[in-house]
């Protein structure tokens, strides 16, 4: 056929002979002009200059070729589509294939051929059926779903249809189901699906298995009857029973179908039927034991594809311990082989394996091997190794792992440095065995990769040092050493100057550390640093002056000279500092008061967060304040955005940030953890208030007029968001409860899981397991706590106290003081929701076992989304309501950055799990998602909420989120809730897009009234 399309061949050779891109473009333009003229003439003079089907076909292929080369083809779509209606196969085929390459599902032209396509599908010609099914399967949209689904289903199960049609029908239905899940009626379909899996033809089975994966991932419960069938398919393949030669690939019965089948099985939560389970494990055992390394690459790859899928399935099924250790042993072997593909996959799967408990210790044995891969020449392998090291790090191996990361940092390529630096910082913070080590690590990080150390990482160091007197001389001495190094990164200058200004006097007796020497070493950097750093240096000089006893007139003159030099500086911030410090330092005693050492950072969980949120929520009147907030460096809201977005906080802390802010319970919870860690001492309420006082004292200097509402707000914001990000103090690793008894499993993860489902384990330790089962109906909820004593002796002094947030009414029935051995006690808890809020109730739970007293504070999953019920709306309902809410505060829009890269179906799944109903097709743009739900509270009963997400296919890390409802608080809370779920957790690479959100640099650019440097 190609030989007959001479024009096309000539064109392709011409393109091939082009010497450069410019020539190619000219040739393409010429051809496009030619094709365009021919198409146009045909429209004008259909009789005289009509195109033969052959010509049309040829031109359409040329268009596709040009399009493939990357040139825009903005005409001729119509001609391509019209070929679909051609009576002969060759033209029709070209029409279908080119249409599915050039157009997308929303293209108007597609509507014109819906009928032709349907006729081809229901017609008798199987080759036409195949073409039509394939195109619909590739680009069919909602419209096709509605008009074609029944026909496609019929073909799929028809006994008179040949496999070649049915396999395409299966994947076509998969597409239609994804476009509109309603087209598959689950009740009737699950039996058909099970029957379909009895199929002999492996082509049909391969397609059907893909369809099953999609159906099951949407609703596993409905398809449990397919489980035994899948196991049968797997047995048939594994035993090579009834597998035609054509489907045997290098001696392995269709590896792709084996993989797909095992994938389908991973969507079922568990396999209960003992016979099915046994058969499946027999097959899996055979795969695990029987896969040998062979010489033939293809055979080896194919058998290992099957093996890796089997490993994943075994992990998913939480198999018996013996089998699990077999898996770990295999993976251990894989990560030490030379063959890069197998090593890559070994590392990847070992990272997945970390999710399974009990194997961590075994994995740790391979640490040395994993570290070797961190130095592999292949970036893909290094990335896997880094992820695995990050995942397996805990308090026992943190020192080794972080040191390796630091070492690697000096040689790592650009693409990985940022991720490395961030991961090292998080691990150092999470698992620091002692704080001086933590300081060492961060300073090394700044030294080796200063460009990739975001400001909040060094703020954190300052915060620790401030709050730990023992650490202060050590940190100052370290800073002194670094400042001697040549070619220092500016961040190092900042942190060094800050530490020496604040604590340099503690080193006074050491050689090279007299005030003058410190001043000289810092001042050497002054000419080369940027204005924000200059501001820090000025503060540091003022501090030095204050610390020098008796005053050194020479030093004083030098510093005053600098202050005077900057009195007229163009940057207002610096100018103001210079003027103020100069004035203050001439007042002697006043200087001592004002520049006294920084108070400890309060760990209270910012009342400001809440305030800033309020400001955001009610807009119009306070726009001036808001504007100010944006201009003034930092506001707490930015911090909320920033934490998840640039990922400087470890996962565990995120949840703390979300904690109710003005709740005493919350902060006491934080404190509990912090104390447990021992790093941060309890807040001295006085020091906190005195810092506020200081702020007040100083504020008139910066802002004219008396400190009014917003001003105090800013002051306190400054205090909060400077080195202390709110919640940042809650450094305690989660395993480090203030109790000697360790919890089993991650409390925070358990809570997160329960936020999306209604029953599960809330907490477990060696003595007790607390389960939760909840039912939600409108604004009422009933949550039953199951307290199970795991011991053979009783648990005594059991206490359970509910600390409800303001928006919930909660009543807990009495909890017995003693739980008998091996007994389970049920405690129902009735909940009434009054209002929308993301605050979370806390269960203060304690008991005694022997001499151990256990006390834990557990968040209860009575969260906002539990009071949502998915409520699908039609276009007729949606648009009037959407339009009736013009804007803030009832409709809020926000560009969210640092979003987890989710595909739209994944995002839809997430929304569904949060009880939002996805309305497909309401938004014509395929990159957008529209959802609706109804929120129940006692105050307003049911309230309709509409959500719209606009994504950017080019950049999945950001999206625009709009939420509308009749209640401003609800709108705001719901928007924030969705954001929490959408934003990526910092375990992954930080989103660079997040940077614009950051405060420019809280310290220097804010007015002195909120400046901790001044403390």
């Amino acid at each position: 056929m190609a030989s007959t399309m001479r024009g096309l061949s000539v064109f392709i050779s011409d393109i091939r002979n082009c010497q450069n891109k410019e020539q190619e473009r000219l040739r393409v333009d010429k051809e496009l002009g030619h094709v365009r003229t021919r198409f146009k003439n045909e429209k004008v003079f259909p009789k005289k200059q009509g195109l033969t089907p052959y010509e049309k076909k040829k031109y359409v292929w040329k268009m596709l070729y040009i399009y493939m080369l990357g040139y825009d083809v903005d005409f001729g779509h119509m001609e391509a589509v019209s070929l679909i209606s051609a009576p002969k196969y060759p033209e029709k085929q070209v029409g279908y294939i080119v249409t599915s390459c050039l157009l997308n599902e929303n293209h108007d032209f597609l509507r014109m051929v819906v009928n032709t396509v349907r006729n081809d599908i229901v017609g008798r010609n199987e080759t036409f059926q195949c073409l039509a099914l394939t195109m619909v399967g590739n680009i069919g949209g909602r419209e096709f779903a509605e008009s074609l689904a029944p026909d496609v289903q019929k073909l799929l199960v028809s006994s008179s249809c040949r496999p070649l049609v049915r396999k395409k029908a299966a994947l076509c239905l998969l597409r239609l189901f994804r476009k509109n899940p309603d087209v598959v009626n689950i009740d009737g379909w699950s039996d058909r699906m099970a029957q379909l899996l009895d199929e002999r033809d492996l082509g049909v089975l391969t397609s059907a298995m893909s369809l099953l994966v999609s159906l099951v991932s949407n609703n596993a419960d409905a398809y449990w009857n397919c489980v035994p069938k899948c196991v049968k398919v797997l047995e048939r393949l594994a035993r090579n029973h009834d597998v035609p030669q054509e489907y045997t690939y290098y001696g392995i019965p269709s590896p792709w179908l084996q993989v797909k089948t095992m994938r389908a099985l991973q969507y079922f939560p568990t396999i209960e039927d003992p016979n099915t389970r046994r058969s499946l494990f027999e097959v899996l055992q055979r795969i695990l034991m029987g896969t040998d390394v062979v010489k033939n690459v293809n055979k080896n790859n194919a058998s290992h594809a099957v093996l890796f899928e089997a490993l994943a399935l075994v992990m998913h099924l939480d198999a018996e311990k013996e089998m699990m250790s077999q898996c770990v042993a295999l993976l251990g072997k894989f990560i030490s082989v030379r063959e890069p593909n197998i090593r890559y996959l070994g590392l990847e799967n070992m990272t997945r394996m970390l999710m399974v408990t009990d194997v961590q210790d075994v994995i740790k044995r391979h640490q040395a091997q994993i570290i070797t891969s961190l130095k592999d020449p292949d970036i893909s392998i290094r990335r896997r190794s880094l992820d695995l090291l990050y995942g397996m790090c805990d308090i026992t191996n943190a020192k080794d792992i972080v040191e390796e990361l630091l070492q690697y940092l000096s040689t790592a390529e650009f693409a990985m440095r940022e991720e490395l630096a961030l991961k090292a910082a998080i691990l150092a913070e999470k698992f620091a065995p002692d704080l001086s080590w933590y300081v060492d690590v961060i300073l090394q990080l700044i030294d080796k990769a200063g460009d990739f150390v975001s400001d909040d990482i060094w703020y954190r160091v300052v915060q620790f040092v401030t709050n730990n007197e023992d650490l202060q001389p050590y940190a100052a001495a370290k800073a002194r050493v670094y400042l001697d190094k040549p070619a220092l990164h500016e961040t190092m200058v900042k942190v060094g100057a800050y530490l020496l200004g604040e604590y340099g006097h503690l080193l006074a007796r050491r050689p090279g550390c007299s005030p003058k020497e410190l001043f000289t070493v810092i001042n050497e950097k002054l000419p080369t640093v940027s204005p924000p750093t200059v501001a820090i240096l000025l503060s540091s000089y003022a501090k030095m002056l204050m610390h020098t006893h008796p005053p050194d007139p020479e030093l004083q003159d030098q510093i005053w000279a600098i202050f005077r030099k900057y009195e007229g500086y163009i940057d207002v911030e610096i100018q103001q500092r210079a003027v103020e410090y100069f004035a203050l330092s001439r007042k002697g005693a006043a200087l001592m008061d004002v520049l006294a050492e920084m108070p400890k950072f309060p760990e209270r969980q910012s009342a400001l967060l809440r305030k800033a949120e309020d400001i955001e929520a009610d807009t119009a009147e306070q726009s001036a304040t808001r504007l100010r907030n944006q201009q003034q460096t930092s506001n707490a809201l930015v911090v909320t955005d920033q934490i998840p977005a640039n990922g400087s906080l470890p996962v565990g802390q995120l949840s703390l940030v979300r904690m109710p802010s003005q709740n005493m319970e919350a902060s006491s919870l934080d404190q509990g953890k912090v104390q447990g860690y021992g790093a941060v001492k309890k807040v001295d309420p006085e020091s906190a208030s005195s810092s506020d006082l200081l702020g007040d004292l100083l504020s008139p200097l910066a802002i004219e007029g008396p400190p009014s509402g917003p001003t105090t707000l800013e002051q306190s914001q400054g205090l909060e968001t400077s080195p202390t990000s709110p919640g940042a103090l809650a450094l305690a690793p989660l395993s480090d409860q203030p109790n000697s008894i360790e919890s089993i499993g991650n409390i925070s993860e358990r809570f997160s899981a329960l936020c999306l489902k209604d029953s599960g384990v809330l907490y477990e330790d060696p003595h007790i397991q607390i389960g939760v089962k909840a039912e939600w109906k409108a604004h009422h909820g009933r949550l039953v706590l199951f307290l199970g004593n795991k011991n053979t002796s009783p648990l005594v002094s059991v206490q359970a106290l509910i600390l409800p947030p303001r928006h919930l009414k909660m009543e807990l029935s009495s909890v017995p003081e003693t739980i008998p051995p091996r007994a389970q006690v049920q405690c129902p808890l009735d909940i009434v929701n009054l209002q929308a809020s993301r605050d979370v109730p806390v269960l203060d739970f304690g008991y005694k076992f022997g001499s151990a007293v256990v006390n834990v504070k557990l968040r209860l999953p009575a969260v906002l989304n539990k009071f949502l019920q998915p409520l699908p709306v039609s276009a007729e309902e949606f648009f009037p309501y959407w339009k009736s809410i013009p804007g803030p505060p009832m409709k809020l829009q926000e560009v969210v950055r640092g979003v987890k890269p989710l595909s739209l179906p994944e995002m839809a799944n997430l929304f569904t799990s949060l009880h939002l109903a996805i309305s497909q097709g309401l938004d014509l743009n395929p990159n957008n998602l529209v959802a609706s739900t109804s929120f129940f509270s006692e105050n307003c009963r049911a309230m309709l909420c509409l959500i719209r997400v606009e994504t950017d296919p080019a950049d999945r890390s950001q999206l625009r989120l709009t939420v509308a409802s009749g209640d401003p608080i609800l709108t705001f809370e719901l928007k924030e809730l969705l954001k929490e779920y959408l934003i990526s957790i910092p375990a992954a690479t930080p989103a660079p897009a997040a940077h614009p959100l950051q405060p420019q640099s809280p310290l220097p650019s804010s007015a002195p009234n909120d400046d901790p440097v001044l403390g």
Binding site: C172, S207, S210, L345
Partner: protein, 143 residues
């Protein structure tokens, strides 16, 4: 979704076949192909066949002057895709006998027909070479 795209690129970075299973605008395609070519073509034989790019993976294999690159979701079975590439090459080889870059260039439509029989909507439909090639052979006979 599974397979997001199948790309054939020669060692100069020229696209020889492109089939996407999710819609991308022309600009997005150009950008994506450029990035991928830069990332994958510079890799050595000793490096693994998987490259992480944006939020998906590229599984690739080189045959003489031609790179076969398949974009897949992160949770896809990489080795299965790697061998699927080989299956595609064997299928082309059976049809063209000693397939080379020029065969694919000058018979773009046939390459598309084959791929269409093998992948649909990002899922594998058929892995039997005989069945994949049947429609093309019928057509060749007819013309």
């Amino acid at each position: 979704m599974g397979i997001r795209f199948v790309l054939l690129v020669n060692k100069q970075g020229q696209t020889r076949l492109a089939q996407y299973y999710e819609y991308l605008t022309l600009e997005e395609r150009r950008a994506l192909e450029g990035e991928i070519v830069r990332k994958c073509l510079a890799r050595t034989e000793q490096q693994c066949s998987f490259v992480e790019h944006r939020n998906y993976k590229i599984v690739y294999r080189r045959y003489a002057s031609l790179f076969f690159l398949v974009g897949v979701d992160n949770d896809e079975n990489e080795l299965a895709i790697l061998e699927f590439i080989h299956l595609l090459v064997e299928t082309m080889d059976r049809h063209f006998a000693n397939v080379c870059e020029l065969d694919i260039m000058f018979h773009l439509e046939k390459a598309h027909f084959m791929l269409e029989e093998m992948v649909m909507n990002g899922c594998i439909v058929e892995t039997s070479k005989t069945i994949i090639l049947t429609p093309i052979q019928l057509m060749d006979k007819a013309s």
